[in-house]
């Protein structure tokens, strides 16, 4: 077991708590190819947890396991203290796990607002007749959803593109909208798949600021994947390092930086 002392002394909106997600001895194979080999780590409530590693290290597979897209052949996952089995993406969403994708998966034909409203899918309950007859619940629900979405629009500073179809937006803004859609579901855990990929410096800084603000303001636990180490080290509380599907390091950014395996496998190669 890892020690349970508070990791950060600096003040933040929500103190880092108990593990919310625990992965035990996870192994994932595609046919004969091993993607992940007995990987264990945990994610604590309200922390920013990064999974890093060179390309092909198994980062995305790891995220897809948490998200329920892949089912590991071995190992178990505990979420909020309870074992999880038969995960599917829909079930993950219901349990408060939202995600973004490396190659932006937005509803391209819809406006920014509609994309975020779609993110409220699980928070919509009114049935066909209620909507058709505009019964109070349907109306109230619509207003609540709109209010929640508007709060996120303000939070992410995208008021000016509210009505713009997302396909017309530049890449950096699309990434931000995708983050917004994930937030609209009011998730407990936010999975970010290379949120900074393909961005210029300024966009990266903005994205970092938003990730930290989300964590600080809403207390959302963040799990993010990156291969760009520099940025991650600045915003993460703890970092897991993967290489060839194996865990080679785990700890605070400083610990990871001084870990010889990591330096050999990752830093040595990349820099």
């Amino acid at each position: 077991m890892m020690d349970m002392t508070p990791l950060q002394i600096s003040e933040r909106g929500f103190a880092i708590g108990q593990p919310i997600l625990e992965l035990n001895e996870i192994s994932l194979r595609f046919g004969g190819v091993k993607a992940l080999t007995s990987i264990s780590f945990d994610v604590r409530q309200h922390e920013v947890r990064a999974i890093i590693g060179p390309n092909g290290a198994g980062k995305s597979s790891m995220l897809n396991v948490i998200n329920g897209i892949y089912r590991p052949q071995e190992g178990s996952i505990n979420y909020q203290g309870k074992p999880l089995a038969n995960m599917t993406p829909t079930r993950a969403a219901r349990m408060g796990i939202s995600r973004t994708f490396q190659n932006i998966a937005l509803f391209k034909g819809m406006s920014v607002l509609d994309n975020l409203m779609a993110g409220r899918y699980l928070r919509t309950h009114a049935g066909f007749l209620e909507v058709a007859l505009q019964l109070p619940r349907a109306r109230r629900e619509e207003n609540e959803n709109r209010e929640a979405v508007e709060e996120i629009i303000e939070f992410l500073e995208i008021e000016h593109i509210r009505k713009t179809p997302v396909a017309r937006l530049p890449y950096g803004l699309q990434k931000r909208v995708e983050l917004g859609r994930a937030l609209a579901a009011e998730p407990k855990i936010l999975l970010l798949d290379e949120p900074m990929a393909g961005m210029n410096i300024e966009e990266k800084q903005d994205m970092c600021r938003f990730i930290l603000d989300v964590n600080d303001h809403y207390g959302t636990t963040v799990v993010l994947i990156e291969h760009d180490m520099g940025v991650v080290m600045d915003i993460s509380d703890r970092v897991v390092v993967l290489d060839y599907g194996k865990k080679i390091g785990d700890g605070t950014p400083n610990e990871v930086r001084s870990n010889q395996d990591v330096i050999d496998a990752y830093l040595g190669v990349a820099h």
């Binding site: 003040e11 933040r12 909106g13 508007e150 008021e159 000016h160 603000d213 600080d216 303001h217």
Partner: protein, 640 residues
């Protein structure tokens, strides 16, 4: 519906008056989270009263100074009301100013309380806090990211208001007494304006000075409480302050705050203001946007637009001024209005604009007439913070593109032998804050020396030529006034700014700052690939385009024998746009001539020395210098 009441000599008295007479009317509207939210006059007065209680409890003294750093938000204006309620002085600062730039105003005015919009502003203030012992409280509006600030000086607006609301019931008599204590001669505001050299001076204005000017201006256009204005320019600038604080106080109209700078245009369309203020730079960018859009339109649409606009230039201004237009032409203008002008006004958010103003001395006649020709009643005014802003204004039906109109009621104008404009008016500022020397230089025998050169024309309209210090002559004696030349050049949609030189020289040369958006669009169409601003700015094609644009302007000058020699002969395109952050522009986007000419001295000298390119430092690539073909008066006549 101007309130002419001897009793109402301070803003607080006006506020109470409105709260009593039109309590449920909207005073401020703000778009927030997608919805327009309204503060009524009663709501404004109530909140300001409570806030005043809290500010008093936090030690704000009568005559103390309160600074404001933020965008146009209802809370900013509530806080101004509360400040004036207690007889304190508002000191609005530019939100894009650096911490260093904020230091001197805060120190010199001994600001005790500051209203800051968000974390970004608070951070800047905390950075200079150690150098500003006078600061007692920093009040922030938006709480995002502010959770961890534990400094005793930092307090949220919400918390302050909560304390005020708690205390208010017991303090009613005190609040009433505070209002009664105020008098018109009290100082209302200090506006810090930077002169040409970039040095900040605090312009001190009293309640009565501001109120008198706002009253006079309101009567020119018959402003009433049904009017609507949009607050989108920095509140630290006296013009915005007059339009969104002073005039609404006098007239009782409603001010709308857009959601953010990026949504300004969309919000403008939704609100449809009736009273509008726009600096020339904003107008220029609107015209550029419109022309970029039309360039992208399909053939027949562009044709329709071009022909309609040609007709509009010819008929529009005359129809707007109520001059006689041959009855047979009217149906054509009406058709153009239906197909082009009305939709265009709609797109620009100006469908309901009854009166709009811009500054005469900086606007190019072409840009100015664009708006008038499509039926927007844009007019020019002249004034500064020192002169109470409203010195001269164009009246309906008396609009000439090259004058700023007649002096406003109460204003006297006279001229020195050097043509400097002197102003005497009830709206004059009292003094430069803590600077008796500068004050004595500016106001002599009750007359404000504006530093502008100008004259009254035969109809009694004021014509402003340029800053006096810029007026000079070429070697051959040709009068040289840069501003009118620059205004003509930047009327081109491709040119953002121009700075011309010629005083004491043989010829006129220009530094050109291109409009990157318009030229980028042009380059895309021509299939010219480029990597960025600097690359674009050094392209031969772009040089040819700009030379062409300047030559067009020269052709107009050439027909005038006196000015023929003032045609631009050579120019350089700057690699980087002029930026307020480099001090090249003021916060309102006007060029700081001195700073620019100092920075690019080597370029200017190279132009006069006849080089074809020059390198001013090792890090940047060479600047290219190009000649512009010029015409003699003879040629120009023949061409005509």
């Amino acid at each position: 519906m101007v309130i002419d009441n001897v009793e109402t000599d301070t803003f607080s008295k006006f506020l109470i008056h409105h709260s009593k007479t039109r309590g449920e009317h909207p005073a401020i509207r703000e778009k927030s989270r997608g919805i327009w939210r309204t503060t009524t006059w009663r709501g404004l007065a109530d909140e300001a009263g409570s806030l005043a209680c809290a500010l008093h409890a936090k030690g704000l003294q009568r005559g103390g100074h309160v600074a404001f750093v933020g965008d146009n938000r209802p809370r900013l204006y509530v806080a101004m009301c509360a400040t004036h309620w207690l007889g304190a002085v508002t000191v609005p600062l530019y939100r894009d100013a650096t911490a260093k730039e904020m230091l001197s105003p805060i120190q010199s005015a001994e600001v005790t309380h500051i209203f800051a919009e968000d974390q970004e502003q608070v951070d800047k203030l905390l950075e200079i806090l150690p150098q500003c012992p006078s600061i007692r409280f920093i009040v922030y509006d938006k709480d995002r990211g502010m959770r961890h600030y534990k400094q005793p000086q930092v307090i949220s607006y919400e918390e302050l208001l909560r304390q005020g609301r708690e205390a208010e019931p017991l303090k009613r008599d005190f609040l009433q007494a505070e209002i009664n204590r105020g008098a018109g001669q009290d100082v209302a505001s200090v506006f810090f304006t930077a002169d040409e050299t970039g040095l900040a001076k605090g312009v001190v204005l009293t309640h009565s000075a501001l109120i008198s000017r706002a009253r006079a201006a309101a009567s020119v256009d018959d402003l009433n409480d049904a009017d609507v204005a949009l607050a989108y320019l920095p509140p630290a600038w006296i013009g915005q302050n007059l339009f969104s604080y002073v005039q609404p106080m006098i007239v009782g109209y409603c001010v709308c705050c857009p959601e953010s700078a990026e949504t300004m245009l969309a919000d403008l369309r939704e609100i449809g203001p009736t009273y509008f203020l726009a600096p020339p730079r904003v107008l220029e960018s609107i015209v550029t946007q419109a022309s970029i859009r039309m360039e992208g339109a399909s053939g027949w649409r562009r044709g329709l637009y071009k022909s309609s606009m040609a007709m509009a230039r010819w008929l529009g201004p005359r129809i707007l001024s109520g001059e006689g237009v041959f009855i047979g032409f009217r149906p054509f203008y009406a058709l153009g209005n239906l197909l082009v002008y009305a939709p265009l006004r709609g797109v620009l958010g100006m469908s309901r604009v009854r009166v709009a103003y811009t500054f005469g001395e900086n606007v190019s006649p072409k840009v100015f007439m664009f708006f008038r020709s499509i039926g927007i009643n844009l007019k020019q005014l002249y004034g500064s913070a020192e002169s109470g802003f409203f010195v001269a204004m164009q009246r309906n039906g008396e609009v000439k593109p090259d004058t700023v109109g007649k002096p406003v009621e109460g204003v006297e104008v006279k001229f020195t032998p050097e043509c400097e404009i002197l102003v005497r008016s009830p709206g004059l500022f009292r003094e430069y804050h803590n600077d008796t020397q500068a004050t004595a230089l500016a106001i002599r025998d009750g007359w404000l020396h504006t530093g502008d050169a100008g004259y009254l024309d035969d109809d009694g309209h004021l014509r402003v030529v340029d800053r006096l210090q810029n007026v000079g002559a070429l070697h051959d004696g040709t009068l040289f006034t840069p501003k009118p030349l620059e205004n003509r050049i930047k009327a081109s949609p491709y040119i953002a700014e121009a700075v011309v030189f010629g005083d004491g020289r043989d010829t006129v040369c220009a530094l050109i700052d291109i409009d990157a958006a318009a030229i980028g669009n042009w380059a895309d169409k021509k299939n010219i690939s480029y990597t960025g601003h600097a690359d674009l700015a050094s392209r031969d094609e772009v040089y040819a385009l700009v030379a062409d644009e300047i030559a067009k302007m020269s052709a107009q000058l050439a027909s005038d024998p006196v000015l023929a020699n003032a045609q631009v002969r050579r120019f350089v395109i700057l690699h980087k746009e002029l930026d307020p952050e480099d001090g090249m522009l003021t916060h309102m986007g006007a060029v700081r001539r001195d700073v620019v000419s100092k920075r690019y001295k080597a370029l200017v000298e190279a132009m006069y020395e006849g080089h074809s390119s020059v390198n001013i430092d090792a890090e940047t690539s060479d600047f290219i210098i190009r000649d512009v073909p010029t015409l003699t008066p003879m040629q120009s006549k023949r061409a005509a």
